[in-house]
C-alpha cells in the first residue's frame, strides 16, 4: 500500500494546519508518513500545496502520483488533475467535471458551526475516503485545540460532518506497529539533536527555510533553560555563537545560503581560533535571494571552501529526518572534540518535510565536552590555549574556570599562548597543528557512506544528504532491471573514500545531486582518481522524486 494525498490552496488558507493535523492523524494510526511542502515566498495568495504520502512500509520521499486531491480552491484542481491516479479522488468545495470528483461544500457546512474551522471538514472527508475511522482524529483535534473547549467541539462537529458526507474510496487498514515511532520534520530534527546534545545558546537571524530550527529551539528554550536569541544580522549571529563557545557553552547557529555567505569570515575565525561551533545551512536555490522557499543542493563546494585561506572544518549532510537528529547531536560532539566549526548541510526538502522515523535512542547518545580538568591543568602548568600537541588538539578551558589562569584566543596567527606572531616558523607550525586535527578526525570519527545493494554490481548510484531517500526508492526499482548498488554519503568533508573506492571498482558510477554543476562529482574527482560514468542533476527548486529518478536513470543513462 502506497498512497499520496495532495492538499492544494492559497497561502493564508490554512494549508499547513490541514497538512499537520492529517499527517499526525495518519501517523498515529500507524502509517508510515512522508510529507513535503511546496509553497511560495508570500504570506497570502499564490498557489501552495502539501503532499502526504502514506504506506504500511517505510517511505523515504515524495511521489508524483496523487490518490486523494484535496482542493481548497479551484486552481488546485486545474493544476494537479493531470497527476491524479485513475482510481483517485478529488475532494473539492466546488464541482468539477471529472468522474473522480467528490464535492464537499465545506464553507456552507462550516458557516453554521464555525467558519474559521472550515478546513476540518476536509480532514473528515479525507479520513472517510481513505476508509479509516475517526477516533484518532478526534483525539488529535482535542490535543491541537486544547486551549479552547468550544473550538474543540466545533471542530469535532465539522470533522464528523465531513466524514459523513463522503464515501469510502479506499479501504485502508491500520498497520500494526511493533515499536515506538516518531513523526518529525528535518528542521525540528536538527533542533532536537542539538537540544539533546546540550546546546545552551542558539543565535540566529530568521531566514527561510532555516527558521524552523530557530522556532523549534525558541519554543523549548524556557523548558530547557537555554537562550535563543535573534541576532541583528548573520554576522552577529555567528560571532555571538563563538562568544558563547569561548565562554564554555555549546553554541550553534543556523541559516540559509545568503546568511551562510555572511557568516563565512566568522567561520574562518572559528577555524583559526579553534572555537567549536555548529552551523546549519538549510539550502535553498540561489544565489542571492533566489527561490527562498524551494530546495536544492547548490552550497556544497561553497561550504567546504568557506572563507579565505584554509582551516580544518567538517561538513556533513543528514540523509533524512532520523539521521538529522543523530548528526546534529554528533556535530556538536565533533565540534567540541576537535575545537572546530562543523557545518550541517540540510535543505528545504529535508527541513520542511516530515517523516515517520524510529524513536530516537537516547541510550546511544553520549555527550563529551572535552574540557580539561583541574588535574590536567596542574599536570600542564601554565595554561596554553594553543599548546602544540601530537594530534593537534590543545587543552580547552574556558574563562574563569581556573584561578589565576586566563584564556586568550586570537584571530591573528598566534603562538601557544594566543599571542600574535608573524614569523614563518611559528606560522607553519601552527597551521600544521591545526591541520593535524583533520587527520585524527578521519581516523576516529569519519563515517563511511551507507551501502545498499548486492555485492556484485554493474552500476553504483551515489547520493549525498537528503537525496538519499528518493534515490534509494529509484534504486529499488532499478534493481529489478540490473545489478545496482547505492552509496548514501552523510559525511562530505573530509570526504570518506574507502567504501567508495571499494564499491566503485568495476562499477559504473552515477552521481545524483540537486545543483547544476555536479559539485559532489567534482569533489569525488578531486579527492580520488575515480572516473565517473554519469552525473544526474536537477536545479528547478523541487525535490527529487523516486520514480522520476528511476525513469531518468533507466532511459538516459543505463
Amino acid at each position: 500500500m502506497d498512497l499520496n494525498i495532495l492538499i492544494g490552496g492559497e497561502a493564508g488558507q490554512g494549508l499547513k494546519t490541514v497538512e499537520s493535523l492529517l499527517t499526525t492523524i495518519l501517523f498515529r494510526q500507524g502509517f508510515y508518513v512522508y510529507s513535503t511542502k511546496d509553497y511560495m515566498s508570500r504570506i497570502r495568495g499564490g498557489h501552495n500545496f502539501m503532499e502526504v504520502r502514506i504506506s504500511d512500509k517505510p517511505v523515504h520521499g515524495p511521489t508524483n502520483e496523487i490518490d486523494v486531491l484535496v482542493a481548497l480552491n479551484d486552481e488546485s484542481v486545474d493544476l494537479h488533475l493531470q497527476d491524479l491516479n485513475e482510481n483517485g479522488v478529488i475532494i473539492s468545495a466546488s464541482a468539477h467535471e471529472d468522474r473522480r470528483m467528490e464535492r464537499l461544500p465545506a464553507k456552507e457546512i462550516a458557516k453554521e458551526v464555525n467558519p474559521r474551522a472550515v478546513n476540518t471538514v476536509f480532514i473528515g472527508g479525507v479520513i472517510k475516503v481513505l476508509g479509516l475511522a475517526l477516533d484518532e482524529a478526534e483525539t488529535i483535534i482535542k490535543e491541537h485545540f486544547s486551549d479552547d473547549k468550544e473550538v474543540v467541539e466545533d471542530n469535532i462537529e465539522l470533522l464528523k460532518k465531513g466524514y459523513e458526507l463522503l464515501d469510502k474510496a479506499f479501504l485502508l487498514e491500520r498497520p500494526g506497529r511493533d515499536k515506538e515511532m516518531m513523526l518529525i520534520d528535518g528542521n525540528s530534527a536538527v533542533g532536537l539533536g542539538a537540544a539533546l546534545a546540550g546546546v545552551s545558546y542558539y543565535a540566529a537571524y530568521p531566514m527561510s527555510p532555516s527558521t524552523g530550527i530557530l522556532t523549534y529551539l525558541a519554543r523549548k528554550q524556557e523548558e530547557l533553560g537555554i537562550v535563543v536569541e535573534q541576532a541583528e544580522d548573520e554576522i552577529a549571529a555567528i560571532n555571538m555563537a563563538l562568544g558563547g563557545s569561548y565562554s564554555g557553552i555549546r553554541s550553534m547557529t543556523g541559516t540559509s545560503g545568503g546568511g551562510l555567505a555572511l557568516m563565512a569570515e566568522g567561520i574562518g575565525l572559528a577555524g583559526i581560533a579553534e572555537l567549536p561551533v555548529v552551523i546549519t545551512d538549510v539550502q535553498r536555490p540561489g544565489p542571492a535571494t533566489g527561490l527562498p522557499t524551494r530546495t536544492g543542493q547548490g552550497d556544497l563546494l561553497f561550504a567546504i571552501n568557506i572563507a579565505q585561506d584554509e582551516f580544518p572544518l567538517m561538513v556533513l549532510a543528514p540523509r533524512d529526518q532520523e539521521d538529522a537528529v543523530y548528526q546534529s547531536f554528533r556535530a556538536l560532539n565533533i565540534a567540541d572534540k576537535y575545537q572546530m566549526p562543523v557545518i550541517i548541510l540540510s535543505d528545504q526538502f529535508l527541513g520542511d518535510g516530515s517523516k515517520t522515523i524510529n524513536e530516537i535512542n537516547l541510550d546511544k547518545l553520549e555527550i563529551d565536552r572535552h574540557l580539561i580538568t583541574e588535574q590536567e591543568l596542574a599536570e600542564n602548568g601554565k595554561y596554553k590555549r594553543y599548546k602544540m600537541t601530537e594530534d593537534g588538539i590543545s587543552p580547552r578551558s574556558y574563562p574563569g574556570q581556573f584561578a589565576d589562569q586566563v584564556v586568550l584566543i586570537d584571530s591573528d596567527e598566534h603562538d601557544e599562548l594566543g599571542h600574535i606572531v608573524e614569523d614563518a616558523e611559528a606560522r607553519t607550525a601552527m597551521v600544521d597543528k591545526r591541520n593535524r586535527k583533520l587527520i585524527k578526525l578521519i581516523k576516529e570519527d569519519l563515517q563511511e557512506p551507507e551501502y545498499k545493494g548486492p555485492e556484485a554490481i554493474d552500476y553504483l548510484l551515489v547520493s549525498w544528504g537528503s537525496t538519499c531517500g528518493p534515490l534509494s526508492e529509484a534504486r529499488d526499482l532499478l534493481a529489478e532491471k540490473a545489478q545496482v548498488g547505492m552509496l548514501a554519503f552523510n559525511d562530505i568533508w573530509p570526504l570518506p573514500v574507502s567504501e567508495l573506492k571499494k564499491r566503485a571498482a568495476g562499477a559504473k558510477v552515477i552521481v545524483v545531486e540537486a545543483n547544476t554543476s555536479s559539485q559532489f562529482a567534482k569533489l569525488i574527482k578531486s579527492e580520488t582518481d575515480l572516473s565517473l560514468f554519469a552525473e544526474i542533476v536537477k536545479y528547478d527548486g523541487r525535490p527529487f522524486v523516486g520514480k522520476e529518478l528511476y525513469q531518468k536513470i533507466k532511459d538516459e543513462v543505463m
Binding site: 539533546l196 564554555g248 586570537d410
Partner: protein
C-alpha cells in the same frame, strides 16, 4: 586593592612610542586593580586595529576576534556567565565603522558590559584613512580632498539611542578616565565610553594638544539622568568638548528581560540526553 602588577600592563607592545593607547592601558589596569579584580574575573573582547591589540598587552581573558565584531561575542559570554566582568574594547573604525550595526543593536539590548572605544579619529593600523569620527577637514591618502561624510558624534548618537550609560573621556586626564572606567564597570547594563586617544603617527589634527585645549569636565551639578540636558551636552563638539558621564538611565538589562535565566550560569549546565525523554513526546 590587588597589586596592579598582576595585570602585567607593562608588556611589550606594537604601538608607536607616544601613542595614546599607553595611558589608556595604564588607566585601565589601575582601575581593575582598584576594583579588586583578578585577571581571571575579567574578559576583554576586541576587534582588529591598534586599539584592539589590548588583550595581548595586559593579563585578562581575551577574545581578539574580527575587525568590527568586538561586540557580538560578548553577548554569548554574558548569556553563559552572569559573573564575569566583560570589557569590549576597540578602535573607532572597528566599533563605529565596520561594527556599526552591532553597536546600534546592543545599545538596544542593554547588555551588561563596558564598551571602551579608543577614539583616535583615524584608522591607525591600516595607515591613516578616515574613520567615522574623522573631521571633514582631514586629508588622507584615500580622502584626498577631505572627508565626504559628516563626522559621527558617538556620544550624540548613543544619547539619541538612549543608551543606558554614555560617557566621554580623554587619555590625557588619567584620573578622569579611571573614574569613568570604574563608574562604567559598576553600572548595570551597557556602558559606553568614547575615549579621545591621540594617534601620533597618523592624526596630525586631533593631537594631545588639540584635545587638551578643548576638553572640560562636566559641571558639578550636571544631571546625567536629564535627557534634554544630555542631548544638549552631547551636541557640544567644537571649541569646547565636555567629558564625563553625559547620559545615564537605569533600566532592565538583557539578562533581566529573560525571565527564566536569573542568575543561572549556563556554563555550569550539565545535560544528560537520557533525562530529556520528554523532548521526544512532541513527535509521537
Amino acid at each position: 586593592m590587588v597589586d596592579t602588577a598582576i595585570f602585567e600592563a607593562d608588556r611589550e607592545t606594537a604601538w608607536c612610542p607616544g601613542c595614546g593607547n599607553f595611558p589608556l592601558r595604564k588607566a585601565l589596569s589601575e582601575s581593575l586593580a582598584e576594583m579588586n579584580l583578578k585577571p581571571e574575573q575579567v574578559t576583554m573582547f576586541t576587534g582588529i586595529g591598534q586599539a584592539a591589540k589590548m588583550p595581548h598587552y595586559l593579563k585578562v581573558n581575551g577574545f581578539n576576534g574580527l575587525h568590527g565584531r568586538s561586540l557580538p561575542p560578548s553577548i554569548g559570554m554574558r548569556i553563559a556567565n552572569p559573573e564575569m566582568k566583560i570589557i569590549v574594547e576597540s578602535g573607532d573604525g572597528c566599533t563605529y565603522g565596520e561594527g556599526g550595526n552591532h553597536i546600534l543593536h546592543n545599545l538596544r539590548r542593554n547588555i551588561d558590559i563596558v564598551n571602551l572605544v579608543h577614539d583616535n579619529q583615524i584608522y591607525g593600523l591600516t595607515k591613516g584613512q578616515a574613520s567615522p569620527t574623522s573631521g571633514n577637514e582631514i586629508k588622507t591618502p584615500v580622502q584626498t580632498h577631505g572627508v565626504n561624510a559628516e563626522p559621527l558624534n558617538p556620544v550624540r548618537f548613543a544619547v539619541g539611542m538612549k543608551a543606558s550609560f554614555v560617557a566621554r573621556s580623554f587619555v590625557g586626564d588619567k584620573e578622569h578616565l579611571k573614574a569613568m572606567i570604574k563608574a562604567a564597570m559598576e553600572h548595570k547594563g551597557y556602558a559606553m565610553i568614547d575615549i579621545f586617544q591621540p594617534c601620533v603617527s597618523f592624526n596630525k589634527i586631533n593631537t594631545y594638544q588639540w584635545y587638551q585645549e578643548r576638553v572640560y569636565h562636566l559641571e558639578e551639578d550636571y544631571d546625567p539622568t536629564d535627557y534634554a540636558a544630555a542631548v544638549e551636552k552631547a551636541d557640544e563638539f567644537g571649541d569646547k568638548i565636555p567629558i564625563g558621564i553625559i547620559y545615564k538611565e537605569e533600566k532592565a538589562t538583557f539578562r533581566e528581560r529573560i525571565p527564566y535565566l536569573k542568575d543561572k550560569a549556563l556554563v555550569k549546565r550539565n545535560v544528560k540526553p537520557t533525562e530529556l525523554k520528554n523532548l521526544l513526546t512532541d513527535f509521537k
